[in-house]
Symmetry: C2
Subunit: 227 residues, 2 copies
DNA sequence: CGTCATCTTGAGTACGATCAAGAGGGGTGG
DNA sequence: CCACCCCTCTTGATCGTACTCAAGATGACG
């Protein structure tokens, strides 16, 4: 109930979403279903047939892929107001798992398709969402391919801080070190060490392992620099 | 004329493209313009206002971003039949530069928008293209975040081989070691060394620095494994 | 033939991974 | 209420992969 506040604290429903619900209802489609998932449970698994997309009402979800030897890459964390599955086709290319307890609304992809055909604003909204996701994914490629561990951590914390309404409020990390590591292409030990280094530099304050405060915005931005 | 054959040798125009041209013409839009770029020239730069998208008719283009200290990440290589700029909004998030001499067709994004509104198949085609690009970008995230240098090289060569029509034909690399390095998140020295290691293992044959033949498909697939 | 860019190869280094042990924190059951 | 267990996080020591710096080889072009 408190953890998921870290990601996407702002309460802005996606532009096309009201319309999605309205249109589905108007066209006689079943109402969007609300789901509750306990921490650790999956919204769907990689390889599942794509029939729905999901709107996250509260909590945080990780989208990830695991390869046979156990290595994992987390593609994105999705918090309140975020959409999952818009960019998928036929089969999901990743699993979506609840990082915290999650409430999500499930929509039929077919309804969205119909709505896009009928409504210009809806079509633009979905396109915009896809393009935003693509841009975010590219930014993460740059991070994974060309940044040092310290830069990765600094960028990550700044991104979390940026999503929060209050600029220099506490950041509550909903995810474990393992999640952070698999998102940034590091190990948990490196995440732990680099966070500690940032703390020793006076750049952040670690009230608890999951509670971070940025104490020197300029410095952490200088460390993240590449952006 | 011969180099770009390595990427996307197959001559399949994008599903929605004929329609794009047709529609633009039918709706009185100016005909799509054909551009010729010498090797090294840019189609557009990061930050340019987005007005067009491009269809690559021949040659290879790299989409990349450079940060202030010179580090570069190449997001994708685009060969014959590929589209550039569909996933962009307002301002391009990367530069597009000709790796070889390139011929491209320039289309107005506004025309595409109109066509998507009018035509169901067109809308689905563009969505599919965006989703494919998103899937490819995610695959590259996994590669950048979780793969060893050898695995990266093996995956890269297999991807190139997969795009070619003939399975075990020669792969002509249109890009330099530097391009490969910046695509895979490595240095040119590591690219050179790992290619040589693959050669010593008998997995590939390097006829010239830019001409590769896969001599042991099973082995190279085993090395790339994660996929 | 000379120049320049690219590629290769070598030697040493460093960053992050791995292996290992211990500390903290929350929840459950006695 | 306390003790215990488990999970996560931290910290330390060592290792290895890939980077850096440097020099030489190869090849294209004028």
């Amino acid at each position: 109930m408190q953890a998921q506040a870290a990601i996407a604290m702002v309460d802005r429903p996606h532009p096309f979403l009201r319309q999605a619900s309205t249109n589905a209802a108007a066209s006689g489609g079943r109402a969007a279903k609300e789901l509750r998932l306990a921490r650790g449970r999956a919204l769907f698994y990689e390889g599942d047939r794509v029939e729905h997309f999901y709107e996250i009402l509260s909590g945080t979800v990780r989208c990830c892929r695991i390869i046979h030897d156990g290595r994992r890459q987390i593609y994105r964390f999705v918090g309140q107001g975020g959409m999952i599955g818009l960019g998928c086709q036929d089969r999901y290319g990743y699993s979506a798992e609840a990082v915290t307890d999650v409430v999500a609304r499930r929509h039929r992809l077919a309804d969205l398709d119909a709505a896009m055909a009928a409504d210009d604003a809806m079509r633009r909204g979905v396109l915009q969402a896809l393009r935003d996701e693509l841009a975010a994914t590219r930014a993460q490629m740059l991070l994974l391919g060309r940044m040092s561990a310290a830069e990765k951590l600094a960028s990550f914390l700044l991104a979390l801080a940026g999503e929060s309404a209050d600029p220099d409020a506490c950041i509550e990390l909903p995810m474990t070190r393992s999640d952070i590591a698999d998102y940034l292409g590091l190990t948990i030990e490196t995440v732990s060490r680099k966070l500690n280094e940032l703390r020793l530099l006076g750049v952040i304050c670690l009230d608890t392992p999951t509670r971070v405060r940025i104490t020197d915005l300029d410095r952490i931005e200088a460390i993240a620099e590449a952006a």
